[in-house]
Amino acid sequence: MFYILCPYCGEHREEEEFHPKGQAHIARPEDPENTSDDEWGDYLFFRDNPRGVHHELWVHAVGCRKFFNITRHTVTYEILEVYKMGEQPSITAENYAAHQAAASADNERNASQGKHQQGVRA
C-alpha cells in the first residue's frame, strides 16, 4: 500500500482514497487538423512504461477530488515527489542519479548528527 501525500489536503492518506490515472504530462496536439495519424495515435494510445522514474497522474477520489502528479520509481515503488497540476517535476529520469547521490550524502550527514542528538535525548 502507498501512503500518499495529497498536495491539496496537505497530509498523507491511504492509497484506497486515491485512483491512478496513468501517465502524466500528456499534451494534446495543438493543431489536431494537421496532425498525422501516427502522431494522433501516439497521443491517444501509446504510453511510456519505463523501468525507473515515472511521472503519473493521480486523483484524490475520496477526499478533495483534485488531480495531482506523482513521481514514482517503478522498481522500488518509492514515491519520489508529489506536485500539483501545472507544475513541473524537479526529479526526472535524467537527474535521478545525481539526486540520489545528494540524498545519500545528506542521510550520512544526518546519521552522524543523529547519533549526537540521540545522545542528548537519552
Binding site: 492518506r13 491511504e14 484506497e16 475520496v62
Partner: protein, 211 residues
C-alpha cells in the same frame, strides 16, 4: 445578483417528511441505553446543507456578511458559530460545506447570492442528498477506528478538523465539532448501510440510539 433560479425545497404546509433512516431505524431497531453503554448514536435529519464553490476571498467576505462566520483558514478545517448550529467545513481548495439549521438554507442561499453579486461562484443545496449522524461517548473513537481508513487518534484528529474518507465500503465526511462528539455526513443512499455498520461495530460497546 446572479440570475440563477432558486426554489424553496421546504414548502409550507402539512407534508409528511421522513429522514433517510426512518425505515432503517424501524427495521434494524434503536437499541436503548444500558448500564454499560459507552457510545450513543443519533441522527440529526433535515439540516440545511449547502455546497459553496468559488474563490476563498469572495466567499469568505459574503459569509461574514450573511452569517458572521468566516471560512476555515486551513485545509481540513471546520469552523462553527458559538451555539454550534452553523458550521463551515473545508472540502477541497475551492469547495466548502455549509450546514445550517433546517429551514434556514433557502434564506441563507438567497442572501449569499445577493452578497456575492457577479462573483464567479456556485451554491448547491445538497441537504436532500445527505444526512448527519452523531457519535458521542468514550468509545466513539473506538467505533470509528473499526470503520474508517483515516487515523482518528485525538493527536491526529483534533477538535475543529473534518475530512472526507473511506468508511467501510462507503464514503463519509467525518468531522469533530467537540471533544466528545463526532459527526458523520453520509450520503442518503448509504445511510442505511452506515447505520447498520455502526450498530454492528458498536455492539461490543452497547451502542444506544437516540431518536
Amino acid at each position: 445578483m446572479s440570475n440563477a433560479q432558486q426554489f424553496d425545497t421546504r414548502p409550507q404546509g402539512e407534508i409528511p417528511v421522513e429522514s433517510p433512516l426512518a425505515y432503517s431505524m424501524q427495521r434494524s431497531g434503536t437499541p436503548k441505553a444500558k448500564a454499560g453503554t459507552k457510545v450513543t448514536m443519533r441522527e440529526r435529519p433535515f439540516l440545511g446543507q449547502l455546497t459553496l464553490r468559488g474563490g476563498a476571498i469572495v466567499l469568505d467576505e459574503a459569509l461574514r456578511e450573511v452569517l458572521g462566520l468566516g471560512l476555515p483558514g486551513e485545509p481540513l478545517g471546520l469552523v462553527q458559530d458559538k451555539a454550534g448550529e452553523r458550521s463551515i467545513q473545508w472540502m477541497s481548495p475551492d469547495e466548502w460545506l455549509l450546514i445550517v439549521p433546517g429551514g434556514e438554507e433557502f434564506d441563507v442561499e438567497r442572501r449569499l447570492r445577493e452578497a456575492l453579486g457577479d462573483a464567479h461562484f456556485a451554491i448547491s443545496n445538497v441537504g436532500g442528498g445527505q444526512t448527519v449522524l452523531e457519535l458521542e461517548g468514550e468509545a466513539a473513537n473506538e467505533v470509528l477506528k473499526k470503520s474508517v481508513a483515516y487515523d482518528v487518534h485525538p493527536r491526529h484528529f483534533p477538535v475543529g478538523k473534518g475530512v472526507t474518507t473511506v468508511f467501510a465500503k462507503a464514503t463519509v465526511i467525518l468531522r469533530r465539532p467537540s471533544e466528545e462528539r463526532w459527526e458523520l455526513v453520509v450520503r442518503r443512499s448509504f445511510a442505511d448501510y452506515t447505520y447498520r455498520w455502526l450498530l454492528d461495530a458498536g455492539e461490543e460497546f452497547d451502542i444506544a440510539v437516540e431518536n
